[in-house]
């Protein structure tokens, strides 16, 4: 019983966190989520390449113009494709990506559950 209560609290906290998540500097958060396209596996934030520096300037400019985080991503996606974003969006291309692990978790839970239901019989 105690364990179930813990689980409920955890799920509640998870939902809470998603709505409360605040990054101190939005520019940093955005550039950390952008791939440096001429580097091999670095974010725009981490990279010092010409492309990365230009994107950093672009992001701070757009933020000053009042673009939201999402709007900046849409702008860059239009130019470079979804590949530039490190966090995959949740659209028809990525349903399986996000849901498959969750499904695996539930499947595992079902198996664990089954082991104990079986024993009770």
């Amino acid at each position: 019983m105690k364990y179930f209560k813990f689980f409920l609290i955890i799920i509640f906290v998870f939902i809470f966190q998603i709505s409360n998540a605040v990054e101190n500097d939005l520019g940093i958060k955005i550039t950390k989520n952008l791939r440096c396209l001429i580097c091999q596996g670095q974010s725009v934030y981490d990279s010092d390449s010409e492309f990365a520096n230009s994107v950093k300037i672009l992001v701070s400019q757009k933020l000053k113009e009042g673009f939201s985080e999402k709007e900046i991503y849409i702008f860059l996606k239009d130019k470079y494709g979804e590949w530039i974003l490190y966090e995959p969006e949740f659209n028809k291309n990525t349903y399986f990506l996000w849901l498959l692990p969750v499904f695996m978790f539930l499947l595992g839970g079902a198996i664990v559950f089954k082991i104990f239901i079986l024993k009770k019989n």
Binding site: L37, I38, E50, S54, I57, L58, Q61, K79, Y80
Partner: protein
């Protein structure tokens, strides 16, 4: 009978995985943002290289001819190598070459052109690299073949013999 379904299903699953990986090997993994359709050129205001006048993109790509916009810098080594092809193409009648000077120092850029000659009918200044981003470029050199304010072909990397032939074919 029921028990046999699981092995069967698993084997099919792995066969599918094999197929996907096999096909994946064939695909190139060099990512080039692809244009499957003709894209409109971006609209922007920018200052010219040699004057400091501001000009709008509409004015540059106005006429009924082909344009090749070439992104270049004096510090870019492959740009030196492709320059001869640009000089070659600058002689073609219905093709005009526009230069985008990318994150460059004006003095160095001028020296570059003095040394290797100037194929550009006009040159746009892009000190921060923002205009290049508008075009969806990410490196230098890159070139865009334009007609009727639409991008027909995007070339990533320096020009070579094959590409020059391709361009010549396209502008006939």
């Amino acid at each position: 009978m029921k028990i046999k379904i699981i092995p069967f299903f698993i084997i099919i699953l792995f066969l599918v995985f094999f197929g996907v990986f096999f096909k994946g090997l064939k695909n190139s993994n060099i990512y080039v943002p692809s244009y499957n359709f003709e894209k409109e050129i971006p609209s922007f205001t920018v200052s010219l290289f040699d004057s400091n006048n501001e000009i709008n993109s509409d004015e540059i790509f106005n006429e009924n001819k082909y344009y090749l916009m070439n992104i270049w810098s004096s510090w870019c080594v492959p740009c030196r190598e492709e320059h001869q092809y640009l000089m070659e193409l600058s002689k073609v009648k219905n093709l005009e070459i526009i230069g985008l000077n990318y994150k460059d120092n004006i003095a160095n850029a001028k020296n570059f052109l003095d040394e290797l000659k100037n194929p550009y009918s006009s040159i746009i200044s892009d000190p921060d690299g923002l205009i290049a981003i508008e075009w969806g470029a990410y490196g230098v050199p890159e070139s865009f073949l334009i007609y009727n304010k639409k991008i027909i072909k995007k070339i990533v990397g320096p020009l070579n013999d094959n590409l020059v032939i391709e361009i010549s074919e396209l502008i006939k």
